[in-house]
Amino acid sequence: MRTAIVCAAIAAICALILILGAGDQTGPNAFVVIGISQGAIYGLLAIGLVLVYKGARVFNFAQGEFGTLAAFTLYLFNRQYGLPYWVGVIAAVVITVLIGLAMERVVVRPLLEKPRVTLLVATIAFALLAIGFEFVIFLPELKNLEPIVHGQGITIFTYILDPQHLIIIGVLLALAVILGFFFSRTDLGLAILGTSQDAFATRVVGIGIDRISPFIWGSAAFLGAIAGILYVPTTNLVPGVVTLYVLIPAFTAAVLGGMTSLPGAFVGGVAVGLIQALSQWASGHYSIGDKLLQGYLPDIPDVVLLVALLTILLARPQGLLGTEA
């Protein structure tokens, strides 16, 4: 119910901006489209973050690196070895999931009963390790990944939305629905939720954390791989690209959505994308004196993002759609 209200509110705000900016070439309309398509990418990574948080109560700083590793694997198979694209995608997903499982076994499991911040530092170390290996193997050079489909794309308000963005939005919607169903209706999903709330009590009723934990991190790697494969073709492939450009907005999206809510991650992603795109537009559109806003303060979208994150955490720590589970 709350999901519907929040979605309707965001849609209403978008509609209002679009109506106000209608017919204005320099208006914010194109930025609304940019915001939604960027926000979908944030939401895609945020879903993986939410899954890990639901399952293990930790922020997974390596989530972005799952994406970058998958993108590099795809690059290796598709561009360097010349294999078909779909083979590369399958190999990328499989290898990333294996890396995720290895990470669970070697890094996460010894720390399951340690304070969560210890585990957080461990995921940071793992992410930096992955970035280091990317530097060693692929060198810090700009690379490009082919998009899944080449096509014209559709033009909305002077902004050309290419097919890759449409696929991202579709995949994200589908994942939010499937995972929402998984966590509320299936035994395994409920077992994961139980483990995250009280590991000892779930062990008493016969659910071993040793069984659940690999599943959580394997699925997180799977979701991260999908996010990376879909996102990287829209930009350049450099070591750590997903961590650098998507991880913080994705965390903000997840926190905005409530950190435990899968539809919340989706809604939060779109909201964060919109906030960033509109502040980008505003900083290049309005001026104080004879200088544009961005002449005074560069990179206003990131400042707005920090303010948004602070406001959410101080005013409503459970987020827009957060629940106890």
């Binding site: 890094v107 499991r109 304070p115 911040v117 957080l120 530092v121 940071i124 170390a125 990179d299 920090l306």
Partner: protein
């Protein structure tokens, strides 16, 4: 020792070390003290001898290592003593570096030819205060938001500083950078390295006195539990903000020295992977233990260069992998951190603890109380599967010193 001792809270390792004769009544003989003093002189003398005898390039690297050590001590205040994770330390270091550079070039009108030592000192003080204020703001936020969520905020804070604040053209000269000429008499790399050592000594002294005082005990107790500290009448609000400001003060000193070390500050020096690496170097050094932190930080600052000394390794790496050997350092740091967290919690400090304990006038032993089975955990290997104790209680419950960071759950309550 009865079984009851297990349930009693054991003092954290960071707590002030008691130098009075311990329960074993051990006190070194005059010859023992003499040996300890000789070893200390050899260690410190060795460091200065190396600094004095190396070429300028290496002297500059050594001053960078000293600056890293100060940054490590700064992070250690927040992470080791207070138990909160700061991923945005590049913000404090960067802000104070720019403040110092801005002061000497714009207000003190220093040029590369002349810059008085007085304006240098004023710049360091102003930069330290700027760092304290910048960190104090974050400390106010930390009153409401803790643990994982605070880590997230600090990460975003660092990002904003890096991408937005440090790019303001009026303050930082955009991409050209803000020049920061070194003071007269310390222009050479060797002289500047000695200057850095002096500041490290000052920071170490402040850190030592801070931890030994009421303030230090209050901060350490807040790490264990906010609520319990408050019931003992400790002003949690004030001491939390104070700890952050202390950390910012050290970061400010480090930032100012970094500015003069580089002699031209550009925003690129303060990117976010640096601040993550700083966290790792403190973890590898050993949280809450200043000797380990200094060694770990210096190691992280130096090993990218040390690794290139040995040309055999260089050539092997180039011929076999066709890669610049510098890239391997990007892997080694995080690898060490992962190993430290999983296998050797306590870091370098734990490994060298017999030596540091011996130097401070105790017996040469792994165990602080002469081998009694107290809260001091065994640092043997744990293997990948951690053994759970028989009654299902968490083994960590009786050994808070082993925790990397105190019990800091998120603010999702």
């Amino acid at each position: 020792m009865t079984d009851l001792d297990v349930t009693e809270p054991t003092p954290p390792v960071e707590a002030p070390v008691d130098d009075r004769p311990g329960p074993s009544g051990f006190s070194p003989s005059p010859q023992g003290w003499f040996a300890r003093v000789v070893v200390l002189i050899v260690i410190f003398g060795g460091v200065f001898w190396v600094t004095a005898s190396v070429k300028g390039f290496w002297a500059a690297r050594i001053s960078l290592a000293v600056i890293f050590a100060i940054i490590g001590l700064s992070l250690n205040v927040v992470l080791g003593y207070l138990g909160q994770l700061s991923l945005g330390h590049q913000a404090f270091v960067g802000i104070s570096a720019f403040v110092a550079a801005f002061y000497v070039t714009k207000s003190a009108h220093c040029t590369t030819d002349s810059c008085s030592i007085g304006s240098f000192l004023i710049a360091v003080v102003i930069a330290a205060l700027a760092g304290a204020v910048a960190a104090g703001i974050l400390g106010l936020v930390a009153l409401r938001i803790r643990g994982l969520y605070l880590a997230l905020i600090t990460l975003a804070y660092g990002f904003v500083a890096e991408r937005s604040l440090f790019e303001i053209p009026a303050l930082t000269n955009g991409g050209a950078g803000q020049p920061a000429p070194r003071p007269d008499g310390f222009v050479g790399d060797h002289a500047f390295a000695y200057l850095c050592f002096i500041f490290l000594a000052i920071v170490l002294f402040i850190d030592w006195r801070l931890l030994r005082s009421k303030v230090g005990r209050a901060i350490l107790s807040i790490k264990q539990s906010d609520a319990v500290a408050a019931t003992y009448g400790i002003n949690v609000t004030a001491y939390k903000v104070l700890a952050f400001m202390m950390s910012g003060l050290f970061a400010g000193i480090a930032g100012a020295l970094f500015a003069f070390h580089e002699t031209n500050v550009v925003s690129n020096n303060f990117n976010f992977s640096n601040s993550l690496l700083w966290v790792l170097m403190v973890v590898v050094g050993g949280l809450g233990r200043r000797t380990g932190v200094v060694i770990g930080s210096a190691f992280f600052a130096l090993f990218p260069y040390l690794i290139t000394i040995y040309s055999g390794f260089n050539n092997f790496f180039k011929d076999t992998f066709h890669r610049d050997p510098n890239y391997i350092t990007l892997v080694i740091g995080p690898l060490l951190a992962v190993l430290t967290i999983i296998q050797f919690p306590g870091g370098i400090a734990e490994q060298i603890s017999p030596i540091t304990r011996w130097l401070s006038g105790k017996r040469f032993t792994k165990h602080p109380d002469g081998g009694h089975a107290t809260g001091e955990p065994k640092s043997g290997k744990r293997g990948l599967f951690k053994r759970r104790s028989q009654n299902g209680a968490e083994p960590e419950a009786a050994e808070p010193s082993k925790e990397l960071v105190g019990s800091t759950e998120g603010s999702d309550a």
